[in-house]
């Protein structure tokens, strides 16, 4: 099992959610986050006072899937979240040791 964490542009969330749902991903967790990568930040100017905004708003999605689905999920997210512009985001894949569904007590593959 793998936990896939992806940081994407906020306005791409709906496209990504629909596409993941279509390939059989059963659920996801979404968080509004701020951060920076190669895009760095940008500057804002208020009556001539310039401020560097170093953290830009992004959406972080977390999806837990069986190992055989990892490639499909990565492809889907990459395809849907891509604009070709700097700041499209990143995908991290982490090993997942255990999963428990609280209501039923099911574990691992059954709980995904």
């Amino acid at each position: 099992m793998k936990l896939i964490t992806a940081i994407i542009k906020p306005f791409k969330l709906d496209d990504v959610r629909e596409a993941l749902s279509a390939i059989g991903v059963q659920g996801m967790t979404v968080t509004e986050v701020k951060g920076y990568g190669r895009q760095k930040g940008h500057t804002e100017i208020y009556r001539g006072a310039e401020y560097a905004v170093s953290f830009l708003p992004k959406i972080q999605i977390e999806v837990a899937v069986k190992s055989e689905m990892v490639e499909a999920v990565i492809e889907t997210i990459s395809g849907k979240a891509k604009t070709g512009q700097i700041g499209d985001g990143k995908i991290f894949v982490l090993p997942l040791e255990q999963v428990v569904r609280i209501r039923t007590g099911e574990t691992d593959g059954d709980a995904l």
Binding site: E44, I45, Y46, R47, G48, A49, Y51, A52, V53
Partner: protein, 442 residues
Amino acid sequence: MSFDCKKVGTCAAVAAGAILASSGTAFAAAPKIDSGDTAWMITSSALVLMMTIPGLALFYAGMVRKKNILATAAQSFGATCIITVLWMVIGYSVAFTTNANSNLNQYIGSFNYFLLGPMGLNATSTLAPTIPESVYMFFQMTFAIITPALIAGAIADRMKFSAFMWFMSLWLLFVYCPIAHWVWGGGFLGQWGALDYAGGTVVHLNAGTAGLVACLMLGKRVGYGTENMAPHNLLFALIGASLLWVGWFGFNAGSAVTANVNAGMAAAATQIATAAAALGWMIMEWMINKKPSVLGMISGAVAGLVAITPASGFVNPMGALVIGFSAGVVCYFASVWVKKWLGYDDALDTWGVHGVGGALGAMMTGMFASNAINSSAKGWLIDGNAHQMLIQFYDVGCTFLYSGIGTFIILKLIDIVIGIRVSRDVEVEGLDINLHGETVHG
């Protein structure tokens, strides 16, 4: 005798003369209260009050950081309350009644209206004979409220509330009241013929100068120039600026003190100048900073309102258009570039918008005043009266010097006794929680 020119200097002189002439003898005709004028002036008073609360409170609070929103709004609200009471106690008397000693009357009114004692139900002022004096006193009170409250923009984010309330009180009595008397109450500037329809120098240059002096004395905010001090909620600022715009019809058209043709033309001039100024600032920003910001548009609108204030009852619509557009461009440079070059921290640009806009408006009033619009005025460009420019310059100079020196002395005294600036810890953590014990979002 038409009193459609309460705030025309020459008219104030006539009024003062009328008082002298009538002393010892009965008035030729008893003043007659006009119901239309009275209705308009009560409405105007409420409109001008709305400019301070919630207009100015929202305008300023939207431009500060989240930790100082309530403290900034509290300054407008607190000023409204303390000034209302002080105006009733002695402010109105000093500013708008006639001193029996005609030499002293050049500079200051009488003390006879202490606690508004002589103001009975049917009393009228010689400065506004067609409305009850209670209404005239209230109308002028709302001007007295907003003028000191404007200074809060320059000192935002770092002044003690206690020091602020003392500052408002002393500044009202020792700076605003005398200057209002000089121009509108029968004093020397009015007698010279200074044209200030609704307060370009008395209100805006006066407050702007005080703001400049105050921000220099307080020093820069902690982190100025390095930390992010971006406005917390520009939508508040936009609502506030819009309320200022709407309320300003009470300010300018109300300054006719009657519901007549001058009030109508002043209202039209105000609307035209404000829109032109907002466009002026927008265009400059669009060309130089590449984006037309909301903060720029609303700042330009306020600059236009300020600049048309002294001119509103004297100029025709074309004059208003030129004055407005000029104000947008000039105040943009004052607030965005001059402040940066000189390095003072006029936090919300009280000087850049009100000081510079007020002085510009006063000078341009001399240029564009038209005898065809107001029979008590003769301007330079239309009527060929270049001398008016000199009088306007005296008006600007006297206001700047007196306001600057008066503000310095008052703040120095308050600083010695209780201190004017909050501690560094309080400033960094925020004024809301430390000075008022509350925060805007629970």
